[in-house]
Amino acid sequence: MKRLTDIVSEQQSMQSVLGLTDVFEGLASMRISQIKNQVLSSQVFFEELWEIYSQVRVSPNFTYGRGVSKPEFDKELYIAITAEGGFSGDIDQKLIDWMLSSFDPSKQDLIIVGHHGALQVSQANVAFKRYFKMPLHDNNINVLPLVNQVKRYKSTTVFYQTYITLMVQDIKKIELKNAIEEASTSHQKSIKQLISDDYIFEPSVESVASHLENTMMQITLTQTILDSKLAQYASRFRAMRRANDKATDLSAELKREFSRTKRFIADERIKEVINGLSKAGPVT
């Protein structure tokens, strides 16, 4: 049986764990609501841009903003968006395993966003071309370095985590070109004709279309990063909730053990007193 002082000390550490998990849980839920508000506030802006892009597209094929020039590498680019640090549950591992199951270094190059994913890819003895830190802030995310890499490749597939609900997150992949073409086509169907033949374009319709292709790539990549961040916060929230529940159970168990031990000690003392009294014999 444990000593009372040991149980008290364990109870104190359990209270610290409870406090910490509460704080992490609160932080994760705060970040989730911040990102959701931010996505909502930017929705109108991006919708308007999609509408313009859908109607300005000069070619039905998406060219990654390269225009007529050829890509530098005749390979596909895989981008994996993962968390920067730990505390994000097992979702990164699932994402990396899924991506590596179709990865062939002779056909694809790999770029990792987030330290956690880079670590897991290294542990799997797979080499990656570039590593970018997951942006710390949730707004004004600069995806230009990523876009510049994307432009060098024949095509790009992005693997990322997606937020479904607070308790459910999933992993997803999109082919960047298809995602942008599909989004553009769906906007074309849903809106009235905005841009007619009498428009003046400066410097030219091709330059505007090419610039917008870059913009759409930035928007799509930013959205995948934000979606990943949401999923990571939700996954962290879930992990902290589980840890908190476990700590609560353990804390209750320690409380019971403390009472049992205290009662046992009291019983032992009573027994000793009774034994002592019986050995001393009757009082005359």
């Binding site: 003046i200 400066e202 610039h211 930035q218």
Partner: protein, 89 residues
């Protein structure tokens, strides 16, 4: 001086925004910026127009004052007496 109806016709709806911040969303008399060709002004009744903006100072003139917004570039869409400027794109 214009009469009231004529006055209304002379108004341009101007919106200058980045994904997360709206810098200006009010009626104005004109908006000026710089594109590859050089400085230009947009007045009510301007032809439908889409242009890539160079880093410059956007100048929005209203009845009471003049507002200046320094930008790093962007896209301007002018249509039916309204000018939308998309920044950080």
């Amino acid at each position: 001086m214009f009469d009231r109806d004529e006055d209304k016709k002379r108004i341009l709806k101007v919106k200058v925004a980045s994904p997360y911040v709206v810098y200006y969303d009010e009626p104005a008399l004109s908006i000026s910026g710089v594109n590859k060709t050089g400085p230009f002004d947009i007045l009510p009744g301007h032809h439908n127009f889409i242009t890539l903006l160079e880093p410059c100072e956007l100048v929005i003139r209203t009845r009471v004052d003049e507002q200046k917004i320094r930008i790093n570039g962007g896209l301007m869409h002018v249509r039916a007496d309204s000018a939308a400027v998309f920044l950080d794109v």
